[in-house]
Symmetry: C2
Subunit: 392 residues, 2 copies
C-alpha cells in the first residue's frame, strides 16, 4: 500500500468501526465524529456499501424533512468463521458481519491426527453450517482459528506445540487458500479465550485468562489488546517454577513446574498414587464434586500452588480481573477459594486493591467467541479492508 492508500483505508476503517460500535449511525453523525465533510463521508460510506460491508437501514427517528438513514453492518451478505480447536474438541461458529451468530456446531476430535485430517473435518463442518444458513464459501470474509499450542501469529503456524504432533511448522492458512478467498488468522486458544472473556466485561482494561485443565496456560490482555509477546509465547506459564516443590520432576525435563504439581494431569497422578480410580481430569472433577475428601484435598493443594504463581503474575501485570477457565475451574468452591487466599495474601496490596478473581462467564465457548472477535476486528482494520477491496 502507498501512503495515500494506507490513509484511505485508515479512514474507511474508522468509518466502519464507528458504525460497528454504534458510536455513529448516520452519515451526518459520521461527519461530526470524523471531522470530514458530508460529501467525503458519503463517498466512503458508498465504498463500504459497495463492498457489502454496510447497509442503509430504517430512517432514524422523527427528524423534520427527509429523515436520515441509519447505517449498520450488512447482516444479509458475508459471513465470519470462528474455530476453536482443543485437544479433544472442535467448535465452529458462523456469524454475520456484525458478529451476530448464524449457526454453531461442535464435535469430538483427536488433535494428534494431524493438520490435514483435522482441518478437513473443520472444513466439512463449516460447509454444512454455510449450507444450513443459505450462504456460500464465497461469502466468507474472514476465518479465525484457535489451536492448543504456541503459534507464530504472523504466519499462522504452530511452533513446536507439545500436544499437537504433526502440526509443527504447518502453515494453517494455506489449507484454506483454495476453498476460501478470505484472510485466515491463527492464534493460541488461550489467547482467544482471554479476548472472548474481555469482550464480555465492562470497565476491564487488563485481564488474565488462566486455563487449568490437563495443562496450564494464560492469555493476557493489556490495555484492551492481546499481548502475544516477542515470539507469541506470552502467557505460557505451565513451566514456571512453584516455590516449595523444586524436587518434583516435570515432563519438560525441568523440576518444580506448576504443570507438574497443579494441572489435571498432576491431580490424576497424585490420586492414583493414593489408590483412587481416576484416569482423566474429568474423573478428578467428578470425584471432587461428589465430595471425595482425598480429591478435594488435592484440588485445594493445586489451588494453593496456582495461587503462588498467580500472585507473581499479579505483582508483575497488575490486572483488573483474573478469569479462571478450563475443566478444573468447575471446582471453583475449592480451587478458587485457595487461589484467592494465596493471591490476596502474597501479592502487593496495591496490586490486589481492585482485583477480581472469577470463573469464566463463557465456559467452553470463550475460545470461539474470542476467535470471532479477532476475525471481525481484522475485517474492519485498514489491512482487512485493503484486502477486501482488492488491494491487500
Amino acid at each position: 500500500m502507498s501512503t495515500i492508500d494506507a490513509r484511505q483505508y485508515a479512514v474507511l476503517s474508522e468509518v466502519a468501526r464507528l458504525v460497528a460500535s454504534g458510536a455513529a449511525g448516520t452519515r451526518s453523525a459520521l461527519a461530526t465524529a470524523t471531522g470530514m465533510s458530508r460529501a467525503t463521508v458519503s463517498q466512503r460510506v458508498d465504498t463500504l456499501i459497495g463492498a457489502g460491508l454496510l447497509l442503509d437501514g430504517e430512517p432514524a427517528g422523527a427528524a423534520r424533512g427527509r429523515p436520515p438513514l441509519t447505517l449498520r453492518l450488512n447482516p444479509l451478505t458475508g459471513a465470519v468463521v470462528a474455530v476453536d480447536l482443543g485437544a479433544t474438541h472442535c467448535r465452529v461458529l458462523l456469524t454475520d458481519l456484525g458478529g451476530a451468530p448464524l449457526a454453531e456446531t461442535a464435535a469430538s476430535i483427536g488433535i494428534g491426527e494431524g493438520p490435514v485430517p483435522i482441518l478437513t473435518r473443520v472444513d466439512t463442518l463449516l460447509r454444512a453450517l454455510l449450507e444450513q444458513c443459505g450462504r456460500k464459501t464465497s461469502d466468507v470474509r474472514a476465518i479465525s482459528l484457535g489451536v492448543p499450542g504456541p503459534v507464530d501469529f504472523a504466519t499462522g503456524t504452530p511452533v513446536r506445540p507439545p500436544i499437537m504432533p504433526g502440526w509443527d511448522g504447518y502453515p494453517i492458512p494455506s489449507f484454506f487458500a483454495d476453498g476460501y478467498d478470505a484472510p485466515v488468522l491463527v492464534d493460541n486458544d488461550v489467547n482467544l479465550m482471554a479476548l472472548g472473556e474481555y469482550a464480555h466485561r465492562e470497565a476491564v482494561r487488563h485481564l488474565l485468562y488462566v486455563k487449568v485443565g490437563t495443562g496450564i496456560g494464560c492469555g493476557i490482555v493489556s490495555g484492551g489488546e492481546l499481548h502475544r509477546g516477542a515470539s507469541g509465547a506470552a502467557g505460557d506459564i505451565g513451566h514456571v517454577r512453584v516455590p516449595g516443590h523444586e524436587d518434583v520432576p516435570c515432563h519438560c525435563g525441568n523440576t518444580g513446574c506448576i504443570e507438574a504439581v497443579a494441572s489435571g494431569g498432576a491431580l490424576v497422578a497424585a490420586l492414583r498414587e493414593a489408590g483412587c480410580d481416576v484416569l482423566t481430569t474429568r474423573d478428578v472433577v467428578r470425584l471432587s464434586s461428589e465430595g471425595n475428601a482425598l480429591a478435594r484435598r488435592q484440588v485445594r493443594l493445586a489451588g494453593q500452588r496456582l495461587g503462588e504463581v498467580l500472585a507473581t503474575a499479579v505483582s508483575f501485570h497488575n490486572p483488573d480481573l483474573i478469569v479462571l477457565g478450563g475443566s478444573l475451574a468447575e471446582l471453583h468452591e475449592d480451587l478458587l477459594a485457595e487461589i484467592r487466599g494465596v493471591v490476596y495474601r502474597r501479592a502487593l496490596p496495591l496490586a490486589t486493591r481492585s482485583l477480581a478473581i472469577e470463573t469464566s462467564l463463557l465456559a467452553g465457548r470463550a475460545g470461539v467467541e474470542g476467535a470471532g472477535r479477532l476475525a471481525l476486528r481484522h475485517l474492519l482494520s485498514p489491512t482487512g479492508l485493503a484486502r477486501l477491496l482488492g488491494d491487500g
Copy 2:
C-alpha cells in the same frame, strides 16, 4: 471537549507527530500523509505555529519554482522539564520542544525529607537551568517527574511508597500549579527508565527494565507502550517469592521475597554476617569489583535468584529485551552471567529464542530520558494540545 473539538485535536496531534517523527516535513508531505486538502493542512500548521510548537525552516531541496518550506518543532520557544527523583539523588533535564537537551543538572537529596523540601529543591534547580538557557518559567510546556515508589498516574500521587516517608497521598502536580502553567506528569521511576531505554532501542517492541539496587523493581513496555496495570503497580516484583528461600523473612512481613535474598540490602546483610566491612550497596559493588571472593560469591547467588524470578517474567511476558539497571548492574560480569544462565535454562525455549539480556545503555540517565520522552509524548497528544491551545 466536544466530539468535534476532540477530532480537531486528534488531527492537530497527528500533524504535530508527523513533523516530530520526521515522517512528513512539508505542508504537501503532510497533505499526502493525512489525506487532507492542502488548505486544511495549512490551517492546522498555522494553528501549531501560532502556539509556538512548529516553525518554518529552510526551503526543502531544489524543487522547481518556489521551494516548499520545511517544518520542524520550534527549538527557539518553549521548554520541557524532566525530573528523576531517587532515594538519594535528583536529576533535572531541560529540553527544547524537539527533545534536544538544553541543560542538565544533578544533586544529592534525601527523599525522606518529604515532598515540600524536595520539590522546592527541584524548583530551585529548574529555575537555575531556565536562567542558564535564557528561558522563563512561562516557557515551560510540560513537566514530567519520576519518583521511587508506586504512583497513581492519573492524579500524580504516590500511593503508600515504602521508601518515601511523607509523600503518601501528596498530589505532586499541585506543587507546580502556581509557578508553572504546564501539565505535570508523575510516574514510577523504573517505568520511566524502561521508557528511556525503549526510546534508544531499534526493533524492540516488548521490554523489561529491571532495576537492582537497594530494592528491586521492573518497568514494562508492552507493544511500545508503558504497561502500568490497573492501579499503577505493574512491575512491582520486589516481593515475588523465589523458589528455595521460603524461610527467609522480608521487611514486608512475608517470607522468601526476591528483595530479601537478592537486593543490595540483602547482600549487605549477608556480607556483614560473614564478617565483611560493608554498609551500603555501593560497598558491595566496590568489594566485588576488587575481586573479593566472598562478595563475588554473594553477587553470583543473587544473580541466580534474580534469574529464577526473571525466568518467570520471561515465560509470562515474552519480551525481546531485558535491560538490567540499578547500582548492582555494574557487576555485570558476575550478576548478568548468572541471570542469563538461569533464564535461558528455565524459561520456555520459544520465549528465549530471540531474547537479549543486556545492561543499561543510559545507566543513571535512563530515568530522566524517559521522563523527557513522556512529557514530549503528552505535549503532542490530543489532550496535551487541547490544554496548550486553551481548552484543556
